[in-house]
């Protein structure tokens, strides 16, 4: 540092210059608002306002005869009493409860392997695993529909050859596991890359100290590394939960190819889509969307707290 600059004023600054200072910084902070303003404008107009409009719409009912009338909680009561809506909600909760832990376990396993550098050609595998992230859910679902098709699909031929004849991956028992496999295929690589970068940022000396203490490798991974990447794990649980509860594209596309496999309102988002677009009942659909939003908030936020408590014990 330069001596002339650090020669600080010996007297306290006069009041006037402090005022100047504070208006200057206030003006500067106002500049901060202008950086945020363009995003904020679109955020309010295209996200908050529609959300408010959804809540507003959900309180009214439009009939062909009689027009639009205020009906208060009627749409909510109707949705809450709909067995189809709730069976969809329970289905996506089961889906999330299985798919997310399995996927994160696979992703963490490979992220650890690449971080340790114990696999040959690690960089190549890392790139390969990330490829499905570039595949739209529509294309992913189309490919898997063909691959698992009960009559001509290559996987059925394979199952026959191995002696598991007549496996129908789209039967009512297997359809949820099938979708779980598809979504695991789509998202494991993305989760793996994020966990990998998190693992890379664990300080090297911590690991070296553990090695010098003769800590077994599995203990280093689970007791040293895993706790240090917890923020990344929490973030992934949160993001994946929000996505899983809104499952839509995969079941819709599978429905096109296997009409009998998936009920029309298989997931809550499909229920909302069908109620609004096919049924034209926008008000009812809006109420269902708001209820789904509340379910998402409750489950994803409580999943954060469960994780936090458990890791503190």
């Amino acid at each position: 540092m330069n001596g002339t600059v650090t020669g600080a004023p010996r007297r306290p600054p006069p009041l006037r210059s402090m005022l100047v200072q504070s208006t200057w910084s206030r003006r500067r902070d106002r500049a901060g608002f202008w950086f945020v303003a363009p995003f904020l404008t679109l955020f309010v107009v295209l996200l908050l306002a529609p959300l408010g409009y959804a809540v507003y719409t959900s309180l009214y009912t439009t009939r062909i005869i009689g027009g639009t009338t205020f009906t208060g909680a009627a749409n909510y009561t109707q949705t809450l009493q709909s067995g189809e809506f709730w069976s969809g909600v329970i289905r996506v909760i089961i889906f999330a409860a299985i798919q997310i832990p399995v996927m994160l376990a696979i992703a963490f396993f490979f992220a650890t392997i690449f971080d340790l550098g114990v696999a040959k050609y690690g960089t190549l595998f890392r790139t390969i695993f990330f490829v499905p992230f570039a595949v739209p859910a529509v294309v992913g679902a189309v490919m898997w529909s063909f691959l698992l098709e009960p009559q001509f699909g290559p996987f059925v031929h394979l199952a026959n050859a191995l002696g598991f004849g007549g496996t129908d991956y789209f039967s009512s028992n297997l359809i949820l596991p099938t979708i779980i496999v598809i979504v695991i295929w789509e998202w494991t690589g993305y989760n793996m890359v994020i966990l990998y970068t998190a693992l890379r940022s664990v300080p090297r000396d911590v690991i070296e100290a553990a090695i010098l203490d003769d800590t077994p490798l599995w203990k280093i991974i689970l007791k040293v590394k895993l706790p240090m990447v917890r923020p990344a794990v929490v973030l992934l649980v949160f993001i994946n939960t929000i996505g899983a509860l809104q499952l839509f594209t995969e079941p819709l596309i599978l429905q096109y190819f296997q009409t009998q496999a998936i009920s029309v309102n298989f997931t809550p988002t499909l229920y909302i889509y069908n109620t609004a677009i096919a049924g034209g009942q926008y008000n009812l659909a809006a109420a269902a969307a708001v209820i789904l939003g509340v379910v998402i908030v409750i489950i994803s936020v409580s999943s954060l707290f469960v994780r936090r408590r458990r890791s503190e014990v």
């Binding site: 902070d29 202008w34 189309v142 290559p154 890359v193």
Partner: protein, 322 residues
Amino acid sequence: MSATTVARPGPEPGPAVPPPPRPRRGGGDEDSIPIEYYGLRRGTVTAVTAACVLFAIFTLIPIAWLIINSTKTQANIFESFGFWFASPFVFGKNFVLLFQNVDGYGVYFRWFGNTVLYAVVGGGGATALAALAGYGFARFRFRGSRALFYLVIAALLVPITAITLPLYLSYAKVHLIDSVWGMILPSMVSPVGVYLMRVFVEVSVPRELIDAARIDGAGELRIFFRLALPLMVPGLMTVLLLNVVTVWNNYFLPLIIFSQNQLYPLTVGLGLWSQRAQNSGNAQIFPLIVLGGLVTIVPLIALFLILQRYWRSGLLLGSIAN
């Protein structure tokens, strides 16, 4: 040693002192602890590599199937062995059909053009807005900035249906039904992008640097474009990539808001073909779905490989995120 070297001011490294260690750059593979130190059992490397091979096969099987079957006729897609080529080889013929209107449902390459437009303008716009907002949130404290930031994060919890349906209803009132802006403008709102850019500015644009520029009298915009933006490039590329992929792969919004198939992006077009495939009179729709799917994913995979350097380091954002 000669007297002249002693007389020189400042330290002179002696020949016996090893060169100082290279400063560590986070994330590089060259950084790894040698695997011998872990005391692995024999065969671990082989077993682990085998696990990688198995998962790589699982990952690549659908894509291999897609490539192979894009060269087949409809009959061969159903009848020949799925994981090998069959004659006739009709890739070229299938490709030409992508330029034609199939059964009146729409022209594939028209959808391709739309998708590029939405992804470039929507994804690029989202990235620009996120860069500005992320910088604003990270380096300024203005009235309500904290509350606003949490509001942006909370928006992640809002289901897409709760935004898309009312958008569709309001588009009718403001004449945005069947307008490209109806797709592009909502695509520019990326709360995740703002969050990531904020985290990235926190770690890569030093506060002292900005203050120094302010003391030198540089304006805030100038500081942002000249000083901060170049430092934000890796994060910017990552966010751009994520935004482009999100728009490219978006299905729900365009499915709801577009009624004319000339405006469809690829996802909605392929979805429409899939829906019609079962009861379509056109004998050639299945090869088109397969080849169309392949052509949809090629540009994104290419983009990934080109920008690899950036997202490898940029995705670190997710890990610092707290």
